[in-house]
Amino acid sequence: MAEIRTGVSGDPLDLAGLVASFHQGRTDIGAVVTFTGLCRDEDGRLDALELEHYPGMAEAEINRIAHLAAERWPVTDLSVIHRHGRVAPGEPIVLVIAASKHRHAAFEAAEFVMDFLKTHAPFWKKEHARDGTATGWVAARDADDEAEARWDSNS
């Protein structure tokens, strides 16, 4: 069974530290895939994103999704960490690290986690504009539902 670590953090994610510690001293891993979702500034318009979450359910849902991925692909390790609170452009919002003996399992597990996280993990983004005006909730995208649905047709 894969080693699964998941979490929700109000503090900036230590990308380099997490990745470095991931396969330190390990000789059974052949592939590590990392995905980092970053806050964009939307062509300079955005001052920050505020990420609201449902405490308790957000952690549980991320954990559930990670376990689904680990059941489906032979990953040895899977970490999923998601930010909440105020995130500045350039800062990470979400980090997925998947390790496996061979690369395909790690690639696909990481992508599966992101597609399900987008549509199932209870987080909501609110934009704060640089000029202090026009703040609003980010709308969900149909493309995210379609990205999730393709994992059904592939199975």
Partner: protein, 83 residues
């Protein structure tokens, strides 16, 4: 029963949570949304389009036809935009 609201559902209703006694005849999520809509302008505004509302029962995703029997915590929120 505890009700939780998130994102623009929370803002429009004007509160993050409340505790209610479930009235007789309110058996499903759809019933609850219909009943809440009649509680004031904020609720009406937040829940005007029930299809846009996602729901979790005791912290698990559920559909609008799900039963509220035995449920302690209901959360209403817009489609999620994390990641």
């Amino acid at each position: 029963m505890k009700l939780l609201y998130f994102a623009w559902v929370r803002e429009r209703i004007g509160r993050a949570d409340e505790t209610i006694e479930l009235p007789a005849g309110v058996e499903t999520v759809a019933d609850l949304i219909g009943w809440l809509k009649a509680r004031g302008d904020g609720y009406e505004l937040a829940l005007a389009e029930p299809d846009a509302i996602r729901v979790a029962l005791d912290r698990e995703h559920a559909l609008h036809d799900a039963s509220l029997d035995g449920i302690r915590e209901v959360a209403l929120f817009p489609p999620m935009t994390g990641g």
